[in-house]
């Protein structure tokens, strides 16, 4: 590994925060310079990302690459251990990609009270937190990055948000922190309870995952997994921990909503795949049916919630709950197939829902309202935006050929044969319910499209000149739209990366399956 490889991943994590520090010294009145520095920072970060992607060894996606393992906090034997494998890679790429586009989009759309300097500093700090979470291979390091995301988002919602921003931001913060408190207790419990073969204790995710929770009593495993479950489920968010999401999304400024939907929600599902399931496979199996139940409740509840909304942004927020339900359903099967689908679903949802939030933001900027009753005829006034909205609605409802399909459909399919030891009838019931969910999804998305884009322009906006897409919007949206199509046509580019590491995640269950399969023939069950 050459010197640049050694530093590249740390660079990808810390360049944004260095940019933020640099920004702090640029006087507030030099707005263009501030924006340029911020954009440059994210572009350089993304450049490092491109380098990482280009030099990644795609034959060994299950191995940690660009790994750095240095001493950090010896007293608690926590180490600065980062690395990139096939699960982290798509998430890191998504995070860097969206961050650049968010700055491009907000170039001259800074929400009130303006102040681009503070806004961009927060955005850059946020990026460090997100990138760091996706590459951390040590539980304490993961926790630090996971929490680092909270503060900037809290301020982003609370300062630049809508009328009800203070309530929404504190709710977001408190609920998430409650989950984090349980999560860190579970991390500590893992440290104390898991004994490595050489008798030592560790926070290292790779080492912890390699022993599959050996030495922990089943009851304790269930409790620890419960703590992790609540911590991650709040972030996802899963029903019934979702209540912070509609408020946060509705009040957040456009860019905040985009980042929230595209990346922050993924921190939760990523936590399940990276930490909870590989480290405690036995407990995961006991919890899986419950995760599945909550996932399908989320799918149906989210969809029904959508149908009851009058606010476009709130509708998209509820649709996030439904979509993340599909992701969690894939994870709950504990199969390679299901988890691969889940990761694809995470990427697809990030792109599509992120794009929908961009659109909602732009529509609000033009019409000064997001109320579905007052909107209408977007295709007449701003045809390009109208068509893009239609395109994204199609992608979101899982139209084959677009990215959304490959997250949703395989996730449903995976419930047909969940990991051995899970109740087959129950999971097939989930399959039926989830399929109904897709119909509802088509329902609410088309309903939204119909009310926003079709029909005639409402009287109050009839004589108003509505500007169609402008420069920054073209620049920010085109890459997303291209990717939605690209991933829809060639989903293999993601699956190829994720498959091997996911096999490693589910290996504990596969081993079990083999032993059960051999037992099955003896008993003579079908």
């Amino acid at each position: 590994m050459n010197a640049f490889d050694h530093w590249a991943l740390s660079g990808a994590v810390f360049i944004p925060i260095l940019g933020a520090v640099l920004l702090a010294f640029v006087p507030k009145r030099l707005e263009v310079e501030i924006k340029a520095v911020a954009l440059l920072t994210t572009v350089v970060t993304a450049g490092v990302g491109v380098y990482l992607l280009a030099h990644f060894d795609y034959d060994k996606t299950h191995q940690l690459q660009y790994a750095v393992d240095r001493s950090w906090i010896d007293v608690i034997s926590s180490r600065y251990h980062i690395g990139l494998d096939g699960i982290s890679l798509p998430m890191l790429a998504l995070s860097m990609f969206i961050s650049v586009l968010c700055i491009v989009y907000s170039w001259d759309h800074f929400p009130e009270p303006h102040n681009p300097k503070a806004f961009l500093i927060l955005l850059l700090v946020l990026e460090t937190g997100m990138n760091g979470t996706f590459v951390a291979q040590d539980l304490i390091l993961f926790f630090v990055f996971f929490e680092l995301v909270l503060l900037p988002m809290y301020f982003m919602i609370g300062v630049w948000g809508g009328p009800n921003r203070q309530y929404a931001s504190i709710k977001f913060f408190l609920v998430t922190l409650f989950g984090s408190a349980l999560m860190i207790l579970s991390f500590l419990a893992l440290y104390f309870k898991v004994t490595l073969p050489d008798g030592s204790h560790t926070f290292d995710i790779v080492k912890l995952a390699s022993v599959h929770g050996a030495g922990i009593a089943h009851g304790a495993q269930l409790l620890i997994f419960g703590g992790l479950f609540i911590g991650f489920a709040i972030k996802v968010p899963m029903f019934p921990f979702h209540t912070w999401l509609p408020d946060a999304h509705t009040e957040a400024p456009t860019v905040g909503s985009v980042i929230l939907a595209a990346i922050l929600l993924k921190l939760g599902t990523y936590g399940f795949i990276r930490i909870a399931i590989p480290i405690l496979p036995e407990a995961a199996k006991s919890w899986a049916p419950w995760i599945g139940v909550l996932a399908v409740i989320g799918i149906i509840y989210g969809a029904l919630g959508c149908l009851a909304q009058r606010d476009m942004k709130r509708l998209i927020a509820f649709s996030s709950i439904a979509h993340m339900g599909f992701v969690m359903l894939g994870i709950s099967t504990l199969t390679t197939y299901g988890i691969n689908a889940a990761i694809f679903g995470m990427v697809a949802h990030g792109l599509i829902t992120g794009m929908l939030f961009f659109l909602a933001g732009s529509i609000q900027e033009r019409f000064h309202t997001r109320e579905l009753d007052r909107l209408g005829g977007l295709l007449l006034q701003a045809p390009r935006m109208g068509w893009i909205l239609g395109f994204c609605a199609m992608a979101s409802l899982g139209l084959p050929g677009l990215a959304g399909f490959w997250g949703e459909f395989p996730a449903i399919l995976s419930t047909y044969s969940p990991a051995v030891g899970l109740n087959l009838a129950l999971f097939r019931t989930f399959m039926v319910i989830a399929s109904i969910g897709t119909v509802l999804a088509a329902g609410y998305l088309l309903w939204m499209l119909q009310r926003v884009a079709f029909g005639t322009v409402k009287a109050e906006f009839e004589h108003e000149h509505i500007h169609d897409m402008h420069g920054p919007e073209y620049l920010a949206w085109t890459p997303i739209l291209v990717l939605i199509v690209l991933l829809g046509v060639v989903p293999g580019i993601v699956f190829r990366v994720t498959d091997k590491p996911v096999q490693k995640v589910t290996v504990a269950h596969v081993e079990q399956r083999r032993s059960v399969v051999t037992g099955q023939t003896a008993v003579g069950q079908p």
């Binding site: 906090i73 010896d74 931001s169 504190i170 408190a181 207790l185 104390f192």
Partner: protein, 502 residues
């Protein structure tokens, strides 16, 4: 004459290790110099005094460094009553650091106030001297003398603004309850001394762990001593003096009391528990459990309702003391817990000092403009004082324990001690601490919300002018808080020097 000389020569004074005592000696010399300077200097040159005090404090850090690099075994004096070891060196450095930051915070505050300057610094240094002595005290008398040396000047400092009713109230409450606590503690000490026949903690430790372990008199003695210190560290239900005293005192003094004086109380407790009463965790274990649970919960719940920022920080510091009490509650459970509790308590005290002093520095800076301590006066601070706002945000979220600001590591160490013990009671306490951290976030975030999200109450957006010393104290504390948060190892090994842990 000859007879007199003979008597004099037969008296053998205690062997003094001047190198080991150098910090105390320099501090005492500075104290005298400050008093003299106050007499000599004219009114317009009085600003020199604070510089003199600051230089003195920094100078007393030098022997601590030389002692530390020598890597000498513990230097014991006066038959084990006064010990200079790694533990005491680190805590002396901590106290002097706190003292220096408080001096920085006081400089402009005292200069611009209507009251005497010289005496203020004299009292502050005297109190600091008591704390430095406390870090080395290993016997009941020395602990008591150190405690009074640090407390009596503090009573007077609390009443510094003598024409202000609230300041008078602060001082009188602090004084009465402080004296009561001393009396209770002294009674406990006399019981322990009466039974063991020694005031030296190691000797007491031998006896308490040995033959007389379950004598009720010892139980009673430990009980009273712990209660006495519970007053000093303002643990619930012995906390009633704290909010009024903190609110009424001059703000730098409040910072000093809530950080230094509290830390001194905990240092004494560490010495007493770890050296003297280790064998009787059946007495102090449950006591600390109850104190910790109550202190965290009550402190946080009352803090939720505060509208004055100093009172809020007062209750928050009560709650923070509750987190420090948690390791004490689990220290006796097993050897691993004993070690990690010690580390947790020391590390917590160090981080707490940095973040709380930082928060108070911001309060002083903001009050220079708004002349108010109401949380509502912080509205829109971000618009006209973004630097102070960011600093305050860092300190508040450090106190709340959100990474990457330093406090998270302190809480993590506490949780580690809890899980090292692993008993059901310990885990229950850990859960109480966890729930409390979430409650606490609410009021810390409320201040942040006011600063970032509310409009400026009177529309006055002239920037806040922060004088250089205050800026230095903000910079120092902020740097320490962030450094600990990002690279805790830098400070964590200070807590690992378990010279008291056997």
């Amino acid at each position: 004459m000859h007879a007199l000389l003979a008597v004099a020569s037969s008296f053998t004074g205690p062997r003094l290790d001047y190198h080991a005592l150098a910090p105390e000696i320099i501090l005492t010399a500075t104290l005298v110099l400050v008093l003299l300077a106050d007499l000599v200097l004219e009114e317009r040159n009085q600003w020199l005094i604070s510089n003199l005090a600051g230089i003195g404090v920094l100078a007393s850090v030098i022997p601590i460094i030389t002692l530390a690099v020598q890597n000498h075994a513990a230097r014991s004096m006066a038959g084990g009553a006064y010990v200079v070891d790694d533990f005491s060196l680190v805590l002396k450095a901590l106290f002097l650091g706190i003292g220096y930051v408080v001096l920085l915070m006081s400089t402009n505050y005292v200069e611009e106030g209507d009251y005497y300057q010289g005496e203020y610094y004299f009292l502050l240094l005297a109190s600091l001297l008591g704390m430095v002595v406390m870090a080395s005290a290993r016997d009941l008398i020395t602990i008591f003398v150190a405690l009074e040396t640090l407390s009596i000047p503090a009573y007077m400092l609390a009443g510094w603004r003598k024409r202000d009713l609230k300041s008078n109230e602060a001082a009188i409450k602090y004084y009465l309850l402080g004296v009561l606590a001393s009396a209770v503690m002294l009674y406990g000490m006399s019981l322990v001394f009466g039974y063991t026949g020694s005031t030296v903690l190691t000797e007491i430790g031998k006896q308490v762990n040995g033959s007389i372990t379950h004598k009720p008199v010892i139980t009673l003695g430990i009980f009273f001593i712990v209660i006495g210190f519970a007053f000093k560290v303002s643990a619930v239900p012995f906390h009633f003096w704290a909010p009024d005293t903190y609110e009424g005192s001059p703000t730098p003094v409040t910072a000093f009391l809530s950080v230094a004086s509290k830390t001194a109380g905990f240092v004494a407790l560490l010495e007493l528990i770890y050296v003297g009463f280790l064998g009787r965790n059946d007495v102090w274990g449950p006591m600390f459990w109850v104190l910790a649970a109550l202190t965290m919960t009550v402190g946080n719940l009352i803090a939720l309702r505060q509208t004055n920022v100093v009172r809020l920080l007062a209750y928050s510091s009560i709650a923070q003391a509750g987190y420090v009490l948690v390791p004490f509650a689990v220290a006796g459970d097993n050897i691993a817990a004993r070690r990690s509790s010690f580390t947790a308590a020391v590390v917590y005290l160090m981080i707490y000092a940095a973040m709380n002093l930082g928060a108070f520095s911001v309060v002083i800076a903001v009050a220079r403009k708004t002349r108010s301590g109401d949380i509502s006066s912080y509205g829109g601070l971000f618009e006209y004082a973004p630097g102070l706002t960011v600093a305050m945000t860092v300190f508040l979220f450090a106190l709340a324990g959100i990474p990457p600001a330093g406090g998270w590591f302190a809480k993590l160490m506490v949780f580690r001690a809890v899980l090292d013990s692993g008993t059901t009671w310990a885990v229950v306490l850990g859960v109480i601490a966890g729930v409390n951290s979430v409650i606490a976030l609410y009021y810390y975030a409320a201040v942040a919300r006011e600063m970032w999200m509310s409009p400026v109450p009177d529309g006055d957006v002239t920037p806040v002018r922060v004088p250089a010393p205050l800026l230095a104290s903000l910079g120092l504390t902020g740097l320490v808080v962030m450094a600990i948060g990002v690279y805790p190892q830098l400070f964590a090994h200070f807590g690992d020097l378990g010279t008291l842990v056997r």
